[in-house]
Symmetry: C2
Subunit: 246 residues, 2 copies
Protein backbone atom coordinates (compact mmCIF):
# COMPACT_ATOMS: atom_id res chain seq x y z
CA UNK A 1 0.00 0.00 0.00
CA UNK A 2 1.37 3.39 -0.94
CA UNK A 3 1.88 6.04 1.70
CA UNK A 4 -0.96 8.17 0.37
CA UNK A 5 -4.11 7.00 -1.32
CA UNK A 6 -4.68 10.46 -2.78
CA UNK A 7 -1.42 10.61 -4.71
CA UNK A 8 0.24 7.20 -4.63
CA UNK A 9 3.97 7.75 -4.88
CA UNK A 10 5.93 5.03 -6.64
CA UNK A 11 7.89 3.00 -4.10
CA UNK A 12 11.61 3.72 -4.38
CA UNK A 13 13.30 0.67 -5.89
CA UNK A 14 16.09 0.84 -3.29
CA UNK A 15 13.55 0.52 -0.50
CA UNK A 16 11.97 -2.51 -2.16
CA UNK A 17 15.39 -4.05 -2.75
CA UNK A 18 16.26 -3.61 0.93
CA UNK A 19 13.03 -5.31 2.04
CA UNK A 20 13.57 -8.20 -0.38
CA UNK A 21 17.19 -8.67 0.69
CA UNK A 22 16.29 -8.49 4.37
CA UNK A 23 13.58 -11.13 4.11
CA UNK A 24 15.74 -13.46 2.06
CA UNK A 25 18.41 -13.32 4.79
CA UNK A 26 15.92 -13.53 7.68
CA UNK A 27 14.50 -16.72 6.19
CA UNK A 28 17.89 -18.22 5.35
CA UNK A 29 19.84 -17.34 8.51
CA UNK A 30 17.28 -16.17 11.02
CA UNK A 31 16.42 -12.64 12.07
CA UNK A 32 18.89 -12.33 14.95
CA UNK A 33 21.76 -13.68 12.86
CA UNK A 34 21.24 -11.11 10.10
CA UNK A 35 22.90 -7.70 10.44
CA UNK A 36 22.11 -4.47 8.63
CA UNK A 37 25.53 -4.86 6.97
CA UNK A 38 24.44 -8.22 5.56
CA UNK A 39 21.26 -6.66 4.20
CA UNK A 40 22.94 -3.72 2.49
CA UNK A 41 25.64 -6.01 1.03
CA UNK A 42 23.02 -8.25 -0.57
CA UNK A 43 20.97 -5.28 -1.78
CA UNK A 44 24.10 -3.64 -3.18
CA UNK A 45 23.66 -0.30 -1.41
CA UNK A 46 25.42 1.51 1.42
CA UNK A 47 24.49 1.53 5.13
CA UNK A 48 23.28 5.10 4.92
CA UNK A 49 20.71 4.12 2.31
CA UNK A 50 19.26 1.57 4.74
CA UNK A 51 18.87 4.10 7.52
CA UNK A 52 17.38 6.66 5.15
CA UNK A 53 14.40 4.31 4.73
CA UNK A 54 14.33 2.41 8.02
CA UNK A 55 15.20 3.69 11.51
CA UNK A 56 16.16 0.16 12.64
CA UNK A 57 16.34 -3.47 11.57
CA UNK A 58 12.91 -4.05 13.11
CA UNK A 59 11.34 -1.46 10.83
CA UNK A 60 12.31 -3.31 7.65
CA UNK A 61 10.10 -6.21 8.85
CA UNK A 62 7.04 -3.94 8.82
CA UNK A 63 7.73 -1.66 5.85
CA UNK A 64 4.11 -0.74 5.09
CA UNK A 65 2.57 0.00 8.48
CA UNK A 66 3.52 3.69 8.55
CA UNK A 67 1.88 4.19 5.17
CA UNK A 68 -1.19 2.23 6.24
CA UNK A 69 -1.49 4.24 9.46
CA UNK A 70 -1.32 7.43 7.41
CA UNK A 71 -4.01 6.09 5.06
CA UNK A 72 -6.21 5.16 8.01
CA UNK A 73 -5.83 8.56 9.64
CA UNK A 74 -6.65 10.30 6.36
CA UNK A 75 -9.67 8.03 5.79
CA UNK A 76 -11.06 8.80 9.25
CA UNK A 77 -10.32 12.51 8.94
CA UNK A 78 -12.32 12.55 5.70
CA UNK A 79 -15.40 11.17 7.49
CA UNK A 80 -18.58 13.16 7.82
CA UNK A 81 -21.61 13.14 10.11
CA UNK A 82 -23.36 10.92 7.54
CA UNK A 83 -21.03 8.03 8.32
CA UNK A 84 -22.23 5.69 11.04
CA UNK A 85 -19.16 5.78 13.33
CA UNK A 86 -18.85 2.05 14.11
CA UNK A 87 -19.22 1.08 10.47
CA UNK A 88 -16.62 3.73 9.66
CA UNK A 89 -13.97 2.30 11.99
CA UNK A 90 -14.71 -1.17 10.61
CA UNK A 91 -14.05 0.16 7.12
CA UNK A 92 -10.85 1.80 8.39
CA UNK A 93 -9.70 -1.55 9.80
CA UNK A 94 -10.23 -3.13 6.37
CA UNK A 95 -7.38 -0.93 5.08
CA UNK A 96 -5.01 -2.99 7.24
CA UNK A 97 -6.38 -6.26 5.92
CA UNK A 98 -5.97 -5.01 2.37
CA UNK A 99 -2.30 -4.27 3.04
CA UNK A 100 -1.75 -7.84 4.28
CA UNK A 101 -3.78 -9.43 1.50
CA UNK A 102 -1.92 -7.53 -1.22
CA UNK A 103 1.09 -9.73 -0.71
CA UNK A 104 0.11 -13.05 0.84
CA UNK A 105 3.52 -14.72 0.64
CA UNK A 106 5.28 -11.83 2.35
CA UNK A 107 2.56 -11.54 5.01
CA UNK A 108 2.72 -15.25 5.86
CA UNK A 109 6.54 -15.18 6.07
CA UNK A 110 6.43 -12.16 8.32
CA UNK A 111 3.79 -13.75 10.54
CA UNK A 112 6.09 -16.76 11.10
CA UNK A 113 9.00 -14.44 11.82
CA UNK A 114 7.11 -12.37 14.41
CA UNK A 115 6.04 -15.57 16.19
CA UNK A 116 9.71 -16.52 16.58
CA UNK A 117 11.35 -13.22 17.56
CA UNK A 118 10.15 -11.59 20.81
CA UNK A 119 11.48 -8.18 19.75
CA UNK A 120 9.33 -8.26 16.61
CA UNK A 121 6.31 -9.36 18.63
CA UNK A 122 6.77 -6.28 20.84
CA UNK A 123 7.16 -4.09 17.76
CA UNK A 124 3.95 -5.51 16.31
CA UNK A 125 2.07 -4.85 19.56
CA UNK A 126 3.10 -1.19 19.41
CA UNK A 127 1.87 -0.97 15.79
CA UNK A 128 -1.46 -2.57 16.71
CA UNK A 129 -1.74 -0.12 19.59
CA UNK A 130 -1.29 2.81 17.20
CA UNK A 131 -4.06 1.51 14.91
CA UNK A 132 -6.32 1.05 17.91
CA UNK A 133 -5.60 4.58 19.15
CA UNK A 134 -6.37 6.03 15.70
CA UNK A 135 -9.77 4.30 15.73
CA UNK A 136 -10.45 5.28 19.34
CA UNK A 137 -9.54 8.95 18.76
CA UNK A 138 -11.97 9.12 15.85
CA UNK A 139 -14.75 7.50 17.91
CA UNK A 140 -14.02 9.79 20.88
CA UNK A 141 -14.63 12.73 18.56
CA UNK A 142 -17.87 11.25 17.26
CA UNK A 143 -19.10 10.35 20.77
CA UNK A 144 -17.98 13.64 22.35
CA UNK A 145 -20.50 14.94 24.86
CA UNK A 146 -22.37 11.65 25.07
CA UNK A 147 -22.49 9.73 28.36
CA UNK A 148 -19.51 7.40 28.62
CA UNK A 149 -18.26 8.66 25.26
CA UNK A 150 -14.57 7.89 25.84
CA UNK A 151 -15.40 4.53 27.44
CA UNK A 152 -17.53 3.47 24.50
CA UNK A 153 -14.93 4.75 22.02
CA UNK A 154 -12.10 2.80 23.65
CA UNK A 155 -14.12 -0.41 24.02
CA UNK A 156 -15.41 -0.36 20.44
CA UNK A 157 -11.97 0.42 19.00
CA UNK A 158 -10.53 -2.53 20.95
CA UNK A 159 -13.36 -4.80 19.79
CA UNK A 160 -12.80 -3.83 16.14
CA UNK A 161 -9.06 -4.47 16.36
CA UNK A 162 -9.58 -7.80 18.15
CA UNK A 163 -12.14 -8.98 15.59
CA UNK A 164 -9.95 -7.91 12.67
CA UNK A 165 -6.90 -9.62 14.13
CA UNK A 166 -8.81 -12.79 14.99
CA UNK A 167 -9.70 -13.20 11.30
CA UNK A 168 -6.35 -11.95 9.99
CA UNK A 169 -4.34 -14.33 12.19
CA UNK A 170 -6.50 -17.34 11.32
CA UNK A 171 -5.83 -16.57 7.69
CA UNK A 172 -2.08 -16.12 8.26
CA UNK A 173 -1.90 -19.34 10.30
CA UNK A 174 -3.59 -21.17 7.41
CA UNK A 175 -0.74 -19.84 5.19
CA UNK A 176 -3.07 -17.53 3.35
CA UNK A 177 -5.70 -20.13 2.39
CA UNK A 178 -9.25 -18.97 1.79
CA UNK A 179 -10.79 -15.54 1.44
CA UNK A 180 -9.25 -13.16 4.00
CA UNK A 181 -11.68 -10.39 3.07
CA UNK A 182 -14.74 -12.55 3.73
CA UNK A 183 -13.30 -13.74 7.05
CA UNK A 184 -12.62 -10.17 8.19
CA UNK A 185 -16.07 -9.04 7.02
CA UNK A 186 -17.64 -11.80 9.09
CA UNK A 187 -15.61 -10.88 12.19
CA UNK A 188 -16.30 -7.14 11.83
CA UNK A 189 -19.97 -7.93 11.26
CA UNK A 190 -20.11 -9.36 14.77
CA UNK A 191 -18.80 -6.07 16.19
CA UNK A 192 -21.08 -3.96 13.99
CA UNK A 193 -24.18 -5.90 15.05
CA UNK A 194 -23.19 -5.35 18.67
CA UNK A 195 -22.38 -1.65 18.56
CA UNK A 196 -23.51 0.08 15.38
CA UNK A 197 -26.59 2.30 15.33
CA UNK A 198 -29.79 0.41 14.49
CA UNK A 199 -29.98 1.71 10.93
CA UNK A 200 -26.81 -0.26 10.31
CA UNK A 201 -27.44 -3.20 12.57
CA UNK A 202 -30.78 -3.70 14.29
CA UNK A 203 -30.23 -4.30 17.98
CA UNK A 204 -32.12 -3.77 21.18
CA UNK A 205 -31.81 -4.32 24.86
CA UNK A 206 -34.38 -5.72 27.20
CA UNK A 207 -36.26 -3.23 29.33
CA UNK A 208 -37.69 -3.97 32.71
CA UNK A 209 -41.04 -2.26 32.36
CA UNK A 210 -44.33 -4.16 32.13
CA UNK A 211 -44.23 -3.97 28.36
CA UNK A 212 -42.98 -1.50 25.82
CA UNK A 213 -41.59 -0.94 22.39
CA UNK A 214 -37.89 -0.28 22.37
CA UNK A 215 -37.25 3.19 20.96
CA UNK A 216 -34.11 1.98 19.22
CA UNK A 217 -35.84 -0.35 16.80
CA UNK A 218 -34.69 -0.41 13.21
CA UNK A 219 -36.96 0.95 10.53
CA UNK A 220 -38.41 -2.41 9.64
CA UNK A 221 -38.15 -4.26 12.93
CA UNK A 222 -40.06 -3.83 16.15
CA UNK A 223 -38.65 -5.02 19.44
CA UNK A 224 -41.12 -5.62 22.21
CA UNK A 225 -40.08 -6.33 25.75
CA UNK A 226 -42.68 -7.74 28.11
CA UNK A 227 -42.77 -9.13 31.63
CA UNK A 228 -43.71 -12.78 31.52
CA UNK A 229 -46.34 -12.20 34.20
CA UNK A 230 -47.96 -9.30 32.31
CA UNK A 231 -51.54 -9.93 31.12
CA UNK A 232 -51.59 -10.97 27.47
CA UNK A 233 -54.21 -8.35 26.52
CA UNK A 234 -51.92 -5.64 27.84
CA UNK A 235 -48.97 -6.87 25.82
CA UNK A 236 -51.11 -7.04 22.67
CA UNK A 237 -52.36 -3.53 23.36
CA UNK A 238 -48.78 -2.28 23.57
CA UNK A 239 -47.97 -4.16 20.40
CA UNK A 240 -50.86 -2.57 18.52
CA UNK A 241 -49.87 0.89 19.70
CA UNK A 242 -46.24 0.34 18.74
CA UNK A 243 -47.23 -0.89 15.29
CA UNK A 244 -49.52 2.09 14.84
CA UNK A 245 -52.53 -0.17 14.47
CA UNK A 246 -54.12 0.45 17.87
CA UNK B 1 -0.11 -8.00 45.54
CA UNK B 2 1.71 -11.15 46.56
CA UNK B 3 2.51 -13.79 43.98
CA UNK B 4 -0.05 -16.19 45.41
CA UNK B 5 -3.36 -15.29 46.97
CA UNK B 6 -3.62 -18.74 48.58
CA UNK B 7 -0.44 -18.47 50.61
CA UNK B 8 0.84 -14.89 50.51
CA UNK B 9 4.61 -15.07 50.81
CA UNK B 10 6.27 -12.13 52.54
CA UNK B 11 8.01 -9.92 49.96
CA UNK B 12 11.76 -10.15 50.31
CA UNK B 13 13.01 -6.92 51.88
CA UNK B 14 15.86 -6.72 49.33
CA UNK B 15 13.36 -6.76 46.48
CA UNK B 16 11.35 -3.97 48.09
CA UNK B 17 14.54 -2.00 48.76
CA UNK B 18 15.55 -2.30 45.10
CA UNK B 19 12.16 -1.06 43.89
CA UNK B 20 12.24 1.88 46.33
CA UNK B 21 15.81 2.83 45.36
CA UNK B 22 15.03 2.53 41.65
CA UNK B 23 11.98 4.79 41.83
CA UNK B 24 13.76 7.37 43.93
CA UNK B 25 16.50 7.59 41.28
CA UNK B 26 14.09 7.48 38.32
CA UNK B 27 12.20 10.45 39.78
CA UNK B 28 15.34 12.39 40.71
CA UNK B 29 17.50 11.79 37.61
CA UNK B 30 15.18 10.28 35.04
CA UNK B 31 14.83 6.66 33.96
CA UNK B 32 17.41 6.70 31.16
CA UNK B 33 20.02 8.41 33.33
CA UNK B 34 19.77 5.78 36.07
CA UNK B 35 21.89 2.63 35.79
CA UNK B 36 21.47 -0.69 37.56
CA UNK B 37 24.77 0.15 39.33
CA UNK B 38 23.20 3.35 40.69
CA UNK B 39 20.20 1.39 41.98
CA UNK B 40 22.20 -1.33 43.74
CA UNK B 41 24.53 1.28 45.27
CA UNK B 42 21.59 3.17 46.79
CA UNK B 43 19.91 -0.05 47.96
CA UNK B 44 23.19 -1.25 49.45
CA UNK B 45 23.26 -4.61 47.67
CA UNK B 46 25.33 -6.20 44.90
CA UNK B 47 24.54 -6.33 41.17
CA UNK B 48 23.80 -10.04 41.35
CA UNK B 49 21.03 -9.39 43.89
CA UNK B 50 19.34 -7.06 41.41
CA UNK B 51 19.35 -9.61 38.63
CA UNK B 52 18.14 -12.34 40.97
CA UNK B 53 14.88 -10.41 41.30
CA UNK B 54 14.65 -8.54 38.00
CA UNK B 55 15.78 -9.68 34.54
CA UNK B 56 16.30 -6.06 33.42
CA UNK B 57 15.98 -2.42 34.48
CA UNK B 58 12.54 -2.33 32.84
CA UNK B 59 11.26 -5.10 35.08
CA UNK B 60 11.88 -3.14 38.26
CA UNK B 61 9.35 -0.57 37.01
CA UNK B 62 6.62 -3.23 36.97
CA UNK B 63 7.53 -5.39 39.96
CA UNK B 64 4.05 -6.79 40.63
CA UNK B 65 2.71 -7.74 37.20
CA UNK B 66 4.15 -11.26 37.17
CA UNK B 67 2.50 -11.98 40.49
CA UNK B 68 -0.77 -10.45 39.32
CA UNK B 69 -0.71 -12.49 36.10
CA UNK B 70 -0.17 -15.63 38.17
CA UNK B 71 -3.07 -14.65 40.44
CA UNK B 72 -5.30 -14.02 37.41
CA UNK B 73 -4.40 -17.35 35.81
CA UNK B 74 -5.08 -19.19 39.08
CA UNK B 75 -8.38 -17.34 39.54
CA UNK B 76 -9.56 -18.29 36.05
CA UNK B 77 -8.33 -21.88 36.40
CA UNK B 78 -10.40 -22.18 39.58
CA UNK B 79 -13.58 -21.22 37.70
CA UNK B 80 -16.46 -23.63 37.29
CA UNK B 81 -19.40 -24.02 34.94
CA UNK B 82 -21.51 -22.07 37.45
CA UNK B 83 -19.57 -18.88 36.73
CA UNK B 84 -21.01 -16.72 33.97
CA UNK B 85 -17.91 -16.39 31.75
CA UNK B 86 -18.09 -12.66 30.96
CA UNK B 87 -18.67 -11.76 34.60
CA UNK B 88 -15.75 -14.03 35.49
CA UNK B 89 -13.27 -12.24 33.21
CA UNK B 90 -14.50 -8.89 34.55
CA UNK B 91 -13.75 -10.15 38.08
CA UNK B 92 -10.34 -11.32 36.88
CA UNK B 93 -9.62 -7.84 35.50
CA UNK B 94 -10.44 -6.36 38.92
CA UNK B 95 -7.37 -8.15 40.29
CA UNK B 96 -5.24 -5.80 38.20
CA UNK B 97 -7.08 -2.75 39.47
CA UNK B 98 -6.59 -3.94 43.04
CA UNK B 99 -2.84 -4.16 42.47
CA UNK B 100 -2.75 -0.55 41.25
CA UNK B 101 -5.06 0.75 43.97
CA UNK B 102 -3.04 -0.90 46.75
CA UNK B 103 -0.32 1.72 46.30
CA UNK B 104 -1.72 4.87 44.73
CA UNK B 105 1.44 6.99 45.02
CA UNK B 106 3.62 4.36 43.36
CA UNK B 107 1.04 3.71 40.63
CA UNK B 108 0.73 7.41 39.78
CA UNK B 109 4.52 7.86 39.67
CA UNK B 110 4.88 4.84 37.42
CA UNK B 111 2.11 6.07 35.13
CA UNK B 112 4.01 9.36 34.64
CA UNK B 113 7.22 7.46 33.99
CA UNK B 114 5.70 5.16 31.36
CA UNK B 115 4.26 8.20 29.55
CA UNK B 116 7.79 9.62 29.25
CA UNK B 117 9.89 6.57 28.33
CA UNK B 118 9.02 4.80 25.05
CA UNK B 119 10.75 1.59 26.15
CA UNK B 120 8.53 1.39 29.22
CA UNK B 121 5.46 2.06 27.13
CA UNK B 122 6.37 -0.92 24.94
CA UNK B 123 6.96 -3.04 28.03
CA UNK B 124 3.55 -2.08 29.39
CA UNK B 125 1.88 -2.97 26.08
CA UNK B 126 3.37 -6.46 26.28
CA UNK B 127 2.10 -6.85 29.84
CA UNK B 128 -1.39 -5.71 28.83
CA UNK B 129 -1.26 -8.17 25.95
CA UNK B 130 -0.49 -11.03 28.36
CA UNK B 131 -3.46 -10.12 30.57
CA UNK B 132 -5.69 -9.96 27.49
CA UNK B 133 -4.47 -13.37 26.28
CA UNK B 134 -5.13 -14.90 29.72
CA UNK B 135 -8.73 -13.65 29.59
CA UNK B 136 -9.16 -14.70 25.96
CA UNK B 137 -7.79 -18.21 26.58
CA UNK B 138 -10.25 -18.72 29.42
CA UNK B 139 -13.16 -17.50 27.28
CA UNK B 140 -12.05 -19.66 24.33
CA UNK B 141 -12.32 -22.65 26.65
CA UNK B 142 -15.77 -21.64 27.85
CA UNK B 143 -17.01 -20.90 24.32
CA UNK B 144 -15.42 -24.01 22.77
CA UNK B 145 -17.67 -25.62 20.20
CA UNK B 146 -19.96 -22.61 19.93
CA UNK B 147 -20.25 -20.74 16.63
CA UNK B 148 -17.62 -18.01 16.46
CA UNK B 149 -16.28 -19.10 19.85
CA UNK B 150 -12.73 -17.83 19.36
CA UNK B 151 -13.95 -14.62 17.74
CA UNK B 152 -16.29 -13.86 20.62
CA UNK B 153 -13.61 -14.78 23.16
CA UNK B 154 -11.03 -12.46 21.61
CA UNK B 155 -13.44 -9.55 21.17
CA UNK B 156 -14.83 -9.78 24.71
CA UNK B 157 -11.35 -10.09 26.25
CA UNK B 158 -10.26 -6.98 24.34
CA UNK B 159 -13.41 -5.11 25.41
CA UNK B 160 -12.83 -6.00 29.07
CA UNK B 161 -9.21 -4.86 28.95
CA UNK B 162 -10.12 -1.62 27.15
CA UNK B 163 -12.88 -0.81 29.64
CA UNK B 164 -10.64 -1.58 32.62
CA UNK B 165 -7.82 0.55 31.23
CA UNK B 166 -10.13 3.42 30.32
CA UNK B 167 -11.16 3.71 33.97
CA UNK B 168 -7.71 2.93 35.39
CA UNK B 169 -5.98 5.54 33.25
CA UNK B 170 -8.55 8.24 34.04
CA UNK B 171 -7.89 7.56 37.71
CA UNK B 172 -4.10 7.63 37.24
CA UNK B 173 -4.29 10.85 35.20
CA UNK B 174 -6.29 12.42 38.04
CA UNK B 175 -3.35 11.49 40.33
CA UNK B 176 -5.40 8.86 42.11
CA UNK B 177 -8.37 11.09 43.01
CA UNK B 178 -11.75 9.45 43.52
CA UNK B 179 -12.83 5.84 43.82
CA UNK B 180 -10.92 3.72 41.31
CA UNK B 181 -12.98 0.64 42.18
CA UNK B 182 -16.27 2.36 41.43
CA UNK B 183 -14.92 3.73 38.14
CA UNK B 184 -13.73 0.29 37.03
CA UNK B 185 -17.02 -1.30 38.11
CA UNK B 186 -18.89 1.23 35.98
CA UNK B 187 -16.67 0.59 32.95
CA UNK B 188 -16.86 -3.19 33.29
CA UNK B 189 -20.61 -2.93 33.77
CA UNK B 190 -20.84 -1.52 30.25
CA UNK B 191 -19.08 -4.61 28.88
CA UNK B 192 -21.10 -7.00 31.03
CA UNK B 193 -24.40 -5.51 29.89
CA UNK B 194 -23.25 -5.91 26.29
CA UNK B 195 -21.96 -9.47 26.45
CA UNK B 196 -22.92 -11.34 29.61
CA UNK B 197 -25.67 -13.97 29.63
CA UNK B 198 -29.11 -12.58 30.46
CA UNK B 199 -29.16 -13.94 34.03
CA UNK B 200 -26.37 -11.48 34.68
CA UNK B 201 -27.42 -8.70 32.38
CA UNK B 202 -30.70 -8.98 30.47
CA UNK B 203 -30.02 -8.30 26.83
CA UNK B 204 -31.35 -9.37 23.49
CA UNK B 205 -30.69 -8.81 19.88
CA UNK B 206 -33.12 -8.19 17.09
CA UNK B 207 -33.82 -11.12 14.82
CA UNK B 208 -34.68 -10.80 11.22
CA UNK B 209 -37.45 -13.39 11.06
CA UNK B 210 -41.10 -12.46 10.77
CA UNK B 211 -41.49 -12.64 14.54
CA UNK B 212 -40.02 -14.66 17.33
CA UNK B 213 -39.16 -14.85 20.99
CA UNK B 214 -35.50 -14.40 21.71
CA UNK B 215 -34.22 -17.55 23.39
CA UNK B 216 -31.86 -15.52 25.56
CA UNK B 217 -34.55 -13.73 27.53
CA UNK B 218 -34.10 -13.28 31.26
CA UNK B 219 -36.28 -15.42 33.52
CA UNK B 220 -38.96 -12.81 34.00
CA UNK B 221 -38.73 -10.87 30.74
CA UNK B 222 -39.75 -11.85 27.25
CA UNK B 223 -38.20 -10.17 24.25
CA UNK B 224 -40.19 -10.31 21.06
CA UNK B 225 -38.79 -9.19 17.75
CA UNK B 226 -41.21 -8.66 14.90
CA UNK B 227 -41.06 -7.29 11.40
CA UNK B 228 -43.19 -4.17 11.19
CA UNK B 229 -44.88 -5.52 8.09
CA UNK B 230 -45.75 -8.87 9.69
CA UNK B 231 -49.51 -9.54 10.13
CA UNK B 232 -50.60 -8.73 13.68
CA UNK B 233 -52.28 -12.12 14.16
CA UNK B 234 -49.02 -13.85 13.40
CA UNK B 235 -47.11 -11.74 15.95
CA UNK B 236 -49.74 -12.45 18.59
CA UNK B 237 -49.57 -16.15 17.78
CA UNK B 238 -45.79 -16.10 18.32
CA UNK B 239 -46.32 -14.16 21.51
CA UNK B 240 -48.79 -16.71 22.86
CA UNK B 241 -46.47 -19.58 22.00
CA UNK B 242 -43.51 -17.86 23.65
CA UNK B 243 -45.51 -17.16 26.78
CA UNK B 244 -46.70 -20.74 26.85
CA UNK B 245 -50.31 -19.65 26.60
CA UNK B 246 -50.99 -20.68 23.01
Amino acid sequence: MSSSSAAPAAKPPIRDALVAAAFRLFLERGYEQTTVDDIVALAGVGRRSFFRYFPSKEDVVFPDHEGCLADMTAFLAASGAEHEPVRRVCDAARLVLRMYAENTTFSVQRYRLTRQVPGLRAYELSVVWRYERALAEYLRGRFAGRPDGTLRADVIAAAVVAAHNNALRSWLRSEGEGDAGAAVDHALGYVQRTYARPADAPAARARTGAAGADPREADDVLVLVARRDAPLWRVVQELETALGRG
